[in-house]
Every structure is written in C-alpha cells, then in structure tokens.
Subunit: 446 residues, 2 copies
C-alpha cells in the first residue's frame, strides 16, 4: 500500500480527550437545563434528500450545501442546520405531543471558506432548542429564561439577552417610508450595526437605492438607540402607529411581563429595538445573547419566533419559537476558564496502580478491581517496569495518585498511596483502601 | 415554494425522544465503564479525504464508501468506521501518552442495501474502545474485562465472551496443510460456522479449491469444537506444533491467566478455537460476545489485537487492541427491557404546573421556578385552558404529577399535587413544596 500522508480536511477537526472533556462538560450543563424545562432529546440523520434542504436558506446557503456523489440516482446532501430537519420531523410525526419541545445537539456541514474567515468551520456542532405548535408568549419567555439559566450555569461571566420583535421592526421600517417588501433586506443591514457601525448600515441602505429621507430617519433612530422601557417609549412617540407596531408592542410587553414573573429581569433580558438578527424567517419576537466584556465575539446564542418555517413540509399552520447556541464559540470562550479546565480533572483516571512485579500482578489487579467496584477511575500499569518509569507515565497523564503494593506492603497488610502533586506518600490498611480512595475523591470534588 | 413530501433516506433514521432516552441510558452506562478503566473520549470528523479511507477495508467495502460530490477538486468521503480515523489521529499526534486509550461513539456511513438485509442501516452508530501502543496481554485482558463489565451493567442477560487467537488459527490452518496465504480466506469461512453450519463452511472451502483432505480434517476438528481448557488440549494433541501455534497458545494462556486474576472467569470469557471473526486485520487474540439466549442476533461486540493497521499512516510500529460494540443491536435488544423503558421515566418532566388563570400566572410561574431551582424537571402549561384539557396534556406526555394552585389554595397557603397514575390528590404547604417534590422524586428513584 502506498504511504498516505495523514491529514484532515480544512475546516474539520479532531477532538482529542482534553477538548472532548471540555465539550462534554458544556453539553452536560446545557442538557441539564434543557431537560429541567421539559425539552426532550432528538437526533436526525446527517444525510438528507437534497430537495428537503435546498431552497430553504437562500441562494448563498444553497451553494454551501455538501451534496453526496450520486449513488443510484439519489440526490443527497449533508445537513446544513437543525431547523429544516426539525420541520421535516414535525411533518412526519403529527402524533407528537402538542406543543412539542425538543433539543438537538449535532454537527452540521457547510462548504464555507475557513481560510478567509477565522473561527469558521466546515463541520461544527449546533445546539438548538425549540418549541413547536404554540403561539403563546409563554413559550417565547420559556426560551429566554432557559438561555439565561444556561449562561448562568456555564459561568460564562456577564451576559445580556437582547429582545426585540420583527413586528416592531416592520412597523418601524414601514413607518419610516420603506416599502413592505424591504423588511428582510433592511433587517439584514441593521444586523450589521454592532459589527460595522452606523456608517456601514447607512451606506448599504443608500446603495440599495432606498429614499434618502427614510434611510436618514432610520439611522437617526438607531443612533438614539435606547434599551428597555425607554426604547419602547422612544418608538411609540416617534413612529406612526401601524397594525404591525401595535401587535409587536403587545407581544413584547407580554413577553417582558412573563419574564419578570419568571425572575428574568432587565439586568438579564432587555428590549433593544436596534437588534435585528440576520435570518429572514423570523416572524415575531427575536433574541440574541451577547457578552458585554467580549465585543470581539459577537452573539453566543440567538433565536426567535418563526411561525412559517416549520410548516414547510406540512399543510397545517405550525408556529415555532426557539434558539440556537453558538456551541463552537462557547467552547472557544470556556476552554480557558478554570471551571472547565482544571489541571487535575484533565486526567483519564484518578489512580494508577503500579505493576510492582510479576509475582504481585494478581494482587495489584485485585486492588484495581476493588477501586473499579467503588466506581473509582483507576488503571493498572501494563508491565513491571521500574517504578520511576511508572511514575513518569502517571505524570505525563496527569494522574494525581499512584498506589504501590509490593511484597513488604503485602506482609504488613497495607498499601502506599503517593500524591503526585505534593510528592507525599501515605500508608493505608489494605482493607480500608476503598474508604481512603473515596475520601480523596471527595476532597477533589469529584 | 413547491410542496416537498417529507421523507428520510432509506437506511437512515430519526431518533425521537423515546428512542433517544434509551440510547442515552445505554451510552451513559458504557461511558461510565470506559472512563472507569481510563479510556478517554475522542471524536473525529465525519468527512475525511477519500485517500485516507479507500483501500483499507477491501474492494467490497470501498464500494460502500459515500463520496461527497466534488467541491474545488477535493476528494472527500464519509467515515466508514472509527478504526481508520483512529489510525490517522495516532499518526498525526505522536505526543499522545503511550499507551493511548480512547473510546469513540459516533455515526458511520455505508452505502449498503437496507432493503435486502433487515436491521442494516446506511447511517448507524459505532462504539469503539481501543488501546494503542502496547504489546502487553494486560491491554488485551483489560478490553475483555471492560466488555464483561459493560454487558453486566447493561443487564443484557446471559452473555458469553469467546476468546481465540489468530495465531492459533494460523497454526491450525497451516498445520492441516493449507498454505500460509489462505489464513484470511479460511478464517472468513470459519466465521460463517455459527450462522450457516458446518456444511456451508465445508462447501465454501472446497469451492475455493483447497485440498479435500485439509478441508475434511479442519471440519472434523470444528465438529469436535470444545471450549475452554479442553479445546486447548484438543488442539495441542492433534495439530502439529508450529511457531504460530506455540506463540498463540502462550498468548492465550497468559490472557486467560490475567483475566482470572481480574475475576473474569470461564463463566464469562472462554477460549473457543472455532471463533474466527471476519476481518482480515487481526494479528493476535480475538474476542466476540454472544447472547446464548438470542442465537438469532449474532455477536453484540467483537474485537481483537491488530498490530499492523493503526500504523498505516505512520512509519513506526503501532500495536493496538480493541473492541467495537454493536450499538444498534444492543439498542434493539434493550429497547424492550423494563430497565431501559420504564413508563414513568419516559416523560419529558416529572411535574406539570397548571396555568390556573391569568391572575394566577405569576404565582404558578414562581412555583415552576422554585422546582427548577431544586433541579426538578417541571414545566408550566402555556395557557389558562380548562383543567381537564391540562390533565389530558399531562397524560399524553406521561407526566406523573400535576400541581394546581388557584385562589383557594393561595388563600390557604397550600398547593395541590395530583398523582396522575393513582388519581389521588394531596395538599401540601406551599413552603414545603420543594421538600415534598424531592421526596416524590426519591420514591421514583430519580
């Protein structure tokens, strides 16, 4: 066989144990919150029919689909996100309880260009939480409260959940003289406000050919961006009332009321009329989570109500609201946090049992077995090397404790536990080894 | 947009919450064993360069690869198994601790024909556990002990781990007059013994054109199949000694010795010279787990030592030993087990808080919040429907307890907990609700 240079496709990654442990801690915390709120796990196939995926996200996204080479004339592609597969599942399973609340953590694939954009991947995990089949603002509020709990429990530091409504944005846009069809285009421009600043938004809107007066008025309002109640009052006093605006205000007031009853107050979730989200499919409230101390990062979660998308494959109205966590960004932020990255915990086991000598093998294996029976992570070294070599192995693998059991220890009915960080050794009665090991685990907060 | 009929590609599946919960319980138990033995998590990309995957599994397997349509001239395909990606990771990460012990649970893709073969999928999970960079039989024994613990803890019922050695098989095959090159072909035929019976093995070997005497002698030995020590003695007395045979016997005796020192005795793991495994790449001990009460199922795990495969992409010798659990088969068996499928546990939450009336919304939300703060799975109904409708929702979702809190309860400082299975209602002081809910959870063994 010719020698093949081992390499991975750009934009895809191996996750070695150190990274995997961080990722598993993050998903563990997220799942515990999702489950507490009554969201149930769902998984869908990586491979879908191309016709299911194509034409749902716009032309640019269609170019980013990864189609499979034809096999027997079938047109297949890799999943682009978790929302369209959810829409398909909903249409195929009308028997599901209504409302249906699901979470889904799986990779998606996009033929992006990771050379040009740092932190972009072609294969990356998405983490979505959605409630389908409910128009109630209670459902929207539950999603926002869940986002607050997730970021609280991840201990990610200061975060802010911005809340707005596409209906309010539509009222604002049409109230300033833009035509009705311009909603999505203008929203996508407003979405660039945080990254590019007001000048970029203004320039882009003028380039599109919108009336100068409308653009200037819109940018004037965006410049006087106010969050919370003041922002609501500003819009109410300056924008002509329209059906969309009134409905949007009602929804947002109801959403904020429920949130405050859920103890999610303005210090966590706040109305912000200049937050627009880039996606076209939102129809009502929209949400976005930012870290005020990390303006470089952009949003770490975002979502909203999208009452038309999930019904794509069914003939019935299918309202939905949900959020997507930026899993790869969250991983990138938390990988350096001491909570997710404690030196000691980044070991495969807590105890290495030395292979003292061939004669002691049986006894050392029994010690290993007894620790396993107590649920303690332990491995026995594979051969009777010099103890120094076995200690080196423990150090290389960050194993915090080494157990030695040789003929002298056996004669005394004792074994020796060495604390590799402190360098100290303790002698423990063999019959009390499990207790001692459990106590050590407690002291390590395992 | 034209209406698209929602459907999945044959051989792929959605996992709805009920199935997901069973799968998560299975992987939870497996991971707890893997971690206890010191195996660390690894994940690799779904998409690999075609040249990494092709030519590693034989012509038949190459036809089952799913290539991606060309994007910028890159030749890519979906992962076919977890072993070749491991070999690539090992070659690219020579700094990893030696030995490197990893587990990996991820889907793989094969262009199989699921119409023709029941229970076969095109997208399915594999679950692999491997130790790389050790020649010691301690490593092999650890894998066998881990398999025993996994099936014990899954409570899958009676299981038997069969152990053999490719070296013993080679000694047997060449000792009976087959030429040395025939080892893999003859092993693949012997592998059909359990499914097809002796006649199929004999017919296939004769069709291949092997000498009748050799075939008849081999089948004679297979007919007198003996397990354990008796099997070893049978081979020793009847087959001419060769280097391969002697080495094989030594390894197997050492492996069985270590296993017995690990308390994995003949009732769990037994030598069986008629077990051959179908894959070509094994070089030493091989293992297979079968369920004696489910002969229809075939093996539920299998593996062995393969000292040449993992070194494919590196220039150094890279010994390895491991096992692959038949995750989809294990799911199929356990999905009907009461341990994995308890009615009550298959609910999204344990408590539904009724939406009593608009005036009571704030109070009911506070109750929900308090349960969440205790880590209890609870959801509040989304609108003030009639109680009967809210009870129906709880029943449809298998929610075992419903909490009611109306103006009367509020006046008394109490709330009502309804046990949906028993139909009984209890009144609890509101200040003691968390205690009461925690007690209920304990009684349910959550």
């Amino acid at each position: 066989m010719p020698f093949i240079t081992p390499r991975t496709f750009k934009g895809t990654r191996d996750f070695l144990p150190h990274d995997m442990r961080i990722r598993e801690r993050i998903t563990g915390i997220m799942k515990s919150v999702f489950v507490r709120y009554g969201f149930a796990p769902l998984e869908t196939p990586a491979v879908e029919f191309l016709e299911i995926l194509a034409g749902k996200y716009g032309d640019e996204a269609d170019k980013m689909l990864y189609p499979l080479a034809r096999k027997g004339g079938k047109e297949l592609a890799l999943r682009y996100d978790l929302t369209v597969p959810l829409a398909r599942v909903i249409a195929m399973n009308p028997h599901l309880p209504k409302p249906f609340k699901r979470y889904q953590i799986q990779p998606v694939w996009r033929a992006d260009n990771p050379q040009l954009k740092r932190g972009r991947y072609r294969e990356f995990y998405q983490c979505d939480v959605d409630t389908v089949w409910s128009y109630e603002m209670m459902a929207d509020a539950e999603i926002v409260a869940l986002m607050a709990d997730v970021f609280d429990e991840l201990k990610i530091g200061k975060f802010e959940i911005r809340v707005n409504s596409r209906k309010i944005l539509r009222g604002l846009i049409t109230g300033l003289g833009f035509d009705e069809e311009s909603e999505h285009k203008v929203c996508r421009s407003i979405d660039k406000l945080d990254k590019g600043g007001l000048a970029v938004v203004e320039q882009e809107l003028l380039q599109y050919g919108y009336a100068k007066k409308s653009v200037v008025n819109l940018c004037g309002i965006l410049e006087r961006r106010q969050s919370g109640t003041k922002g609501l009052e500003l819009l109410e006093s300056e924008i002509p009332k329209s059906a969309a605006l009134i409905e949007g205000f009602d929804e947002i007031r109801s959403l904020l009321d429920i949130l405050s009853e859920m103890d999610v107050n303005e210090d966590k979730a706040v109305f912000d009329f200049a937050m627009a989200r880039g996606l076209d499919y939102y129809t009502g409230p929209i949400f976005e989570v930012i870290l005020p101390d990390r303006p470089d990062i952009g949003s770490v979660a975002g979502g909203g109500r999208y009452d038309d998308l999930v019904g794509l494959f069914s003939k019935e109205q299918t309202p939905a609201v949900g959020t997507s966590f930026g899993f790869e960004r969250i991983h990138a932020i938390l990988q350096d946090s001491p909570d997710f990255n404690p030196g000691g915990q980044d070991s495969d086991v807590d105890f290495l049992i030395c292979f003292y000598s061939s004669e002691m093998r049986r006894d050392c294996l029994k010690i290993t077995r007894r620790l396993h029976d107590s649920g303690i992570r332990a491995e026995m070294y594979f051969k009777p090397d010099k103890l120094k070599k076995q200690f080196n192995y423990a150090n290389k693998k960050n194993i915090p404790f080494v157990i030695m059991y040789g003929p002298d220890e056996k004669a005394e009915g004792k074994c020796t536990i060495k604390d590799m960080a402190e360098g100290k050794q303790n002698t423990v009665e063999l019959s009390k080894l499990q207790d001692a090991a459990e106590k050590i685990m407690e002291s390590l907060n395992r």
